[in-house]
Subunit: 147 residues, 2 copies
DNA sequence: CCACGCTGGTTGCAACATGCTACCAAATGC
DNA sequence: GCATTTGGTAGCATGTTGCAACCAGCGTGG
């Protein structure tokens, strides 16, 4: 068979993460969920994705424990998709992607959406990779080990 | 036409990032590059990816400025693929994915590869999203603004 | 209470992407 | 100089994506 390769049994955590959310739409759905989208139609309008694709993605995110389908908060008979704790734990991933995108794909002054601290309205601090003792680490300061 | 949707003109930085590295293989290639892989054959053996796919992905990563093709460091006539500064800036993204994967896809005690501080050999500190003044921020503490 | 629009899908089809295998040329190793 | 390794390309079968059409429940104005 010629099925897309899966990584869900890899010993590398990055691979398993990619297996769960590493397609074109899932990360953007999660981004929209962080941004407050809950309903099927909200995601569909915001992303411009075909409805069959959105259906499939929402299902796989629910199956993967990233989203959860709950009764609509407005009392209607429809359902809503909200982030589980596991889904909320993706926050640093989204923030890292956002900061990388801001710095590498936008000309200075080019308009773009920006994540800000709700209380102060200010930009966030750049994410830093830190050692156990608090030293900033560059890629070269780290190495991969099996455990 | 039915081409895969592109996000390279979106005003959202997350979307542009996904456009550049958001397919099944690119992030794993970047992970391997952080881990020291440089040669075509190294990536191929490590990932088990078909060679035509690897060729295409390496080319698109080079075109996107994430990797760079340089003469081999061992003096041979072959070429190597190394991370550009833009590629190295993906470090927090990879670390975030790794930490999320470690916590959500592995049973306690299940073996997995781990990123450690080269100097102390210890695990890294968990990534934190911080406000400008250093407060830890949860998803609910932030909001998206246009600029 | 009923007709009409909205919401949240499903189905079918055509085009594109992926995976596999075979093949191949240049560089290396012996 | 000959075999092997390296770094690819080409062709085919299958899977996945995108689009448009369709459809069943819900909700709401009258």
């Amino acid at each position: 068979m010629v099925t897309r390769t899966r990584f869900d049994d890899s010993e590398c955590p990055v691979a398993r993460s990619v297996d769960a959310i590493g397609d074109w739409w899932s990360l953007l759905i999660v981004r929209d969920a962080f941004d407050g989208s809950r309903r099927f139609g909200e995601f569909q309008r915001s992303l411009g994705v075909a409805k069959n694709i959105l259906t499939a993605r929402l299902r796989s995110l629910v199956a993967g424990g990233v989203l959860e389908s709950v009764p609509a908060s407005d009392g209607s008979a429809y359902r809503e998709y909200v982030l589980t704790p596991k889904g909320k734990a993706l926050f640093p991933v989204i923030v890292a992607l956002r900061q990388w995108g801001e710095r590498n794909f936008f000309a200075p002054g080019e308009p773009h959406s920006q994540l800000v601290d709700r209380r102060q309205g200010e930009r966030l601090r750049a994410l830093e990779v830190l050692a156990a003792d608090g030293r900033r680490l560059d890629p070269d300061d780290t190495t991969v080990r099996k455990v």
